[in-house]
């Protein structure tokens, strides 16, 4: 028996790490006064603002926000995660969650992609073509995420031949690699560059206007507070909500 313990432990060691990295979303659609909003990582700043605005307008209501890759969130919504509203960074992921939509999804913003470099720009990147120089370590999203699809399209539009050093799971991870100076450049949305402020320098990407991403939002069927869910969607679509998005660098839908 003494010798079988390590074997048991090792079997556990195989299985546990795989599950240890699942979603950390334990939020409950509580007793009438909580709504949970699943939003793409690129909406972190704006939806945090809008959520506190919503809580101010609806005293007693608590808005919980879960930010992740759109694909992950859409999957969670389809799997019946306790949530009320889903906002994704492209229409394809929203379409994949069609079965969970209580109402047809509505477009509320657009975004374009830019290249950002760390503030001191260690690799001396002046134009987009500079990422093709050897020795430049740049990062982009993995192509299963919307931000990765756009980045891949832009790389092919611009005939980039070099390859990214790493494919990150979402756009905030790309930005983090750049702001921590662990990458020379990264493909992020205009809004991420605005949010990062003077931590990064921005370089325009040619043809970026051809690869606009559209952000749809929809209330979810599993919502226990469909009225509140709809009101949150309405806030995002209202003039007030649109102004918050505009200030953060989002385009009109």
């Amino acid at each position: 028996m003494k010798k079988s313990l390590p074997v048991l432990l090792s079997v556990l060691g195989l299985v546990l790490p795989l599950s240890a990295c699942g979603s950390g979303d334990d939020s409950q659609a509580g007793s009438g006064k909580t709504i949970t909003v699943l939003a793409a990582a690129s909406l972190t700043e704006t939806f945090t603002d809008l959520a506190s605005q919503f809580e101010k307008d609806h005293p007693g209501v608590d808005v919980k926000l879960a930010f992740d890759s759109s694909a992950t969130l859409a999957q969670q919504a389809v799997d019946g995660a306790p949530a009320d509203v889903l906002a994704t960074a492209d229409t394809a992921t929203m379409d994949s969650a069609k079965s969970a939509q209580a109402q047809a999804a509505q477009d509320f913003a657009t975004n374009t992609m830019v290249l950002v470099t760390p503030k001191d720009n260690p690799a001396g990147i002046k134009t987009f073509a500079d990422i093709d120089r050897s020795g430049v370590a740049y990062v982009a999203c993995v192509d299963t995420a919307p931000c990765g699809k756009v980045a891949a399209a832009l790389m092919s539009d611009n005939k980039v031949t070099s390859r990214p050093a790493s494919l990150e799971v979402d756009v905030k991870s790309v930005l983090a690699k750049v702001t921590s100076d662990e990458a020379d450049a990264g493909f992020v949305y205009t809004t991420d560059a605005v949010a990062a402020g003077d931590q990064v320098d921005t370089v325009e990407i040619p043809h970026a206007a051809d690869e606009i991403t559209t952000y749809p939002i929809a209330p979810l069927t599993q919502s226990e507070n469909p009225d509140l869910a709809q009101q949150f969607v309405d806030l995002v679509l209202s003039d007030q909500g649109q102004q918050v998005l505009r200030d953060a660098g989002f385009g009109k839908p």
Binding site: M1, S4, P6, V7, S10, S19, A20, R163, A165
Partner: protein, 273 residues
């Protein structure tokens, strides 16, 4: 293991029936551990198993995972064994503190381990920036970084296992060897290490298994690119976002490969004499 229990039916009858107060929670624990695995097996679209195995992405990820876990075990053997010996046999100031520090990666969330590695060995890390300025070498985004991340999270399993074995075998034989004229290195090679061999083997298997499943520290520190840094768990996580069905198949590939190797090791090395 069942075979060993079955081999002693006589003893069970003299001791009486196992009490429900132990059987019920034990059964729940077993169900909790076994049920998710069984459902994963049942849920896997086995039709695509071989097709998935043939794709370039899967073969690259399997290669990186196999390579990283093998090198991790070698690194544990070469570096971890001396550390375990120091902790078990040499009385030095701060030993208790060092032992605690060695165990910390066991409880550290892997992502935090990755962040710690970035702050030490990243391009602007404590050591990483020095390395970059003096040699121009940067570690992130390389297969070397994958191995470092895997070694960081796996080494504690190895060291604790070997240290335990060294302590259990005791210092008596070392002392006898010394009185017979052996120097300390000879004693280590000829007496201490052979006695601790079960711990070395168990520790190697633990470290190897931990390395196979490693995800958080790798993706944070080394990144994720097919063919250089993408391991099976990274590929599974990424595929989960696009196609959960394929992700399940990939999980099964990793599970089948690791269970097969574990079974082989168990038959060859780990069976009791």
């Amino acid at each position: 293991m069942t075979t060993r229990a079955d081999a002693r039916p006589a003893r069970a009858s003299t001791l009486g029936r196992p009490p429900l107060v132990l059987v019920v929670p034990g059964g729940i624990a077993a169900a909790l551990l076994v049920l998710p695995l069984v459902s994963l097996v049942l849920d896997t679209p086995w039709g695509g198993f071989l097709d998935q195995l043939r794709t370039q992405a899967v073969r690259d990820a399997l290669r990186i995972t196999a390579l990283a876990s093998a090198v991790t075990v070698v690194a544990c053997l070469l570096l971890g064994t001396p550390l375990a010996w120091l902790l078990a046999r040499v009385d030095f100031r701060g030993r208790a503190l060092l032992r605690a520090a060695v165990a910390v990666p066991l409880v550290l969330p892997p992502v935090v381990a990755g962040v710690a590695l970035v702050s030490a060995l990243g391009r602007n890390g404590l050591l990483g920036s020095v390395l970059r300025e003096t040699t121009g070498v940067t570690l992130p985004y390389t297969t070397t970084a994958v191995v470092i991340a895997h070694t960081f999270v796996s080494m504690p399993f190895y060291v604790l296992s070997v240290e335990g074995a060294l302590r259990a075998s005791g210092e008596r034989y070392d002392v006898v060897a010394a009185t017979l004229g052996a120097d300390r290195w000879t004693t280590f090679r000829r007496v201490t290490l052979p006695l601790a061999m079960p711990g070395v083997l168990a520790g190697s298997v633990l470290a190897w298994a931990r390395s196979l499943g490693e995800f958080g520290a790798t993706i944070t520190f080394a990144g994720n690119y097919p063919g250089t840094t993408q391991t099976m768990p990274s590929l599974i996580y990424q595929t989960l976002q696009a196609d959960p069905e394929v992700a399940r198949t990939l999980s099964m590939i990793l599970l089948v490969a690791s269970v097969a190797i574990l079974a082989a090791l168990r038959n060859r090395w780990l069976t009791a004499p």
